[in-house]
């Protein structure tokens, strides 16, 4: 699908960061080694994906799932990755779940706020009360007043 060769490369800056984080104090990496590792990372994605995909297809499945990835890693002799990956997945799922809940809670709160505002301010024309937090001081005064004196 990718038409330009760079599409299949991972960004150098990020690879460098991961490498640097893995280096002990005082150890440097040669430029050539760094770019070789970058290429190796892309090849690893391809190889792991294709191995996992083969396993999925063998089991007559259309999509590659987590178990296929774990089994592929076993085949590739990278079993040691499985445990940290499982942990990572757990945390990821929990984060996704709590993000979802936060979003829902926010939406609910906003809805409740909106309906309160429309009840309290009847036809005063100041429907935009909740949105004028950064607007002129004049507007704010109006809000605090609560009496539609200067509003027409």
């Amino acid at each position: 699908m990718a038409e330009r060769p760079e599409d299949l490369n991972l960004p150098n800056a990020v690879i460098t960061r991961i490498i640097k984080d893995s280096l002990p104090e005082g150890v440097a990496i040669a430029k050539e080694a760094r770019s070789a590792i970058a290429k190796a990372a892309s090849v690893f994605v391809l190889f792991t994906t294709s191995s996992a995909n083969n396993l999925a297809q063998k089991n007559k499945k259309k999509t590659v799932n987590a178990q296929d990835v774990f089994n592929a890693l076993k085949e590739m002799e990278f079993e040691k990755f499985i445990e940290p990956l499982q942990e990572s997945l757990e945390v990821h799922k929990k984060t996704q779940q709590s993000k979802k809940e936060q979003k829902e809670a926010k939406a609910k709160a906003k809805k409740a706020q909106e309906s309160e505002t429309t009840e309290a301010v009847e036809g005063s024309g100041a429907d935009n009360i909740e949105e004028t937090s950064t607007e002129d001081a004049v507007e704010t005064d109006k809000e605090n007043d609560l009496r539609p004196e200067t509003v027409d």
Partner: protein
Amino acid sequence: MASPSKNGNVKDSPSRSSSHPTDLVLPTQRVKMIMKSCPDVDMVPQETLHLITKCTELFIKYLVEETIRNAEDRTRVDYEALAQIVHTKDHLEFLRDTIPKKITWAEARKFMAENDNKFEGFH
């Protein structure tokens, strides 16, 4: 080991790497593009993308650590040391074309001389 801190680089963790398990460092969209360039790969579930991205990060870390472990000069990760582990460890065989061993010009000439009949025009 999973510290609940929300800040990216957790430098005080024992492994010295960005160990917050949920923060992926590699861009998932790019990883997805690479995955989709595989024939027969159709849809990539979110979970699978997360796993492949994360395990590639682990792999990079692994390559660096192994290279240092096996290197003569442990203050530096150089190409030769990297190629060395790729060509000696069985499970890194898939990288042998990507990270070829380098030979000197003298060695190359010797090889060509010995295989004279296979290299036309290189005299």
